[in-house]
Subunit: 136 residues, 3 copies
């Protein structure tokens, strides 16, 4: 298991961690299998989305903010209940396929750490699981 | 594959299954790998969220109820379409990392079975997948 | 890694790919493990939901359309920001358990490719990861 360390700089932001995941895959020497990319936090998540136009990330965060607004009637006293809801909607992890030592993303896909209650020091765990059978 | 049996007691609730997942990992004797925790239901899901203040779960279920209200114009005659939408938003499974025989969750993370159309008898499947290569 | 090719026919639709995933599992000869089903696209996703009444899928797509409407103030110039948000909500992949060569879904569960910006030619990647330890 490898760890990526992140310092988020805004209240809500999406940080591209594709490069760090690729480095861990290369260092691990795995040829075929999956990488599980996991956020050990409850007000953040991991997703896969467009890596080209940064306006897409801005639109996603804007829309999530409207879907889960800072309403007045949450019970949780810390005031970050919207971030917990966004974490559920996003998911804590993604599983990506590694084929012939290559991270198999689509052309426009990047792996993003989604911060919903920053700025904070955050971590991402990456575990590589090798395929066993040769079914190809 | 191991099975956790759950009896949900409300229409919507989040039930902590972290302890049962830990027991399955301990009994399995896996040192390094992942555990896939899967709900074989279409009006429920599995998520990871805060294990401390129960108000967080109340806020999450309240907010999901507002995002996916019991509107009058769903087609599906059973009346549980909102539960199916919440199942999509939540996801049917989580993958968690096991490192040196230890379930690698963040300090505030617990694994939850999310019931959206209870009360019902429910099941959770847990499969352990061991890492093969030593990339650490 | 195996590839499923799909031609989506509507702007938004959910296409049942359970049969193709089962065929890949059968051809792979894996007895116990998981299958990771991954969409290499940023305006689509993979989910598990009801396989019986097609009205459930219609309700899900209707409800997602209301949650993420085509508002006027997205920044992204391609006009498909709602599809990117729906991709985040859905998730790019699912992990399903294979037990004694059988795909372990619930009675009412099917695996669906969710198109949010069609019609397009799409792909789904499937990787089989075998369990190593006998923990049962």
């Amino acid at each position: 298991m490898e760890v990526i360390h992140i310092r988020t700089t805004g209240k809500s932001c999406m940080i591209d961690i594709t490069g760090q995941v690729r480095e861990i895959i290369a260092a691990g020497g795995m040829q075929n299998g999956i990488a599980v990319v996991f956020a050990p936090h409850t007000t953040a998540g991991i997703t896969i989305n467009e890596n080209a136009d940064p306006d897409v990330r801005a639109d996603i965060l804007m829309k999530l903010g409207r879907m889960v607004p800072d309403e007045a009637d949450y019970r949780h006293s810390e005031g970050n209940s919207p971030a917990h809801v966004k974490a559920l909607l996003t998911g804590a992890s993604v599983s990506v396929i590694v084929s012939e030592s290559r991270l198999l993303l689509g052309t426009w896909q990047g792996i993003y750490f989604c911060e919903y209650d920053g700025p904070r020091d955050r971590k991402v765990y990456v575990e590589l699981i090798e395929r066993r059978i040769s079914h190809a």
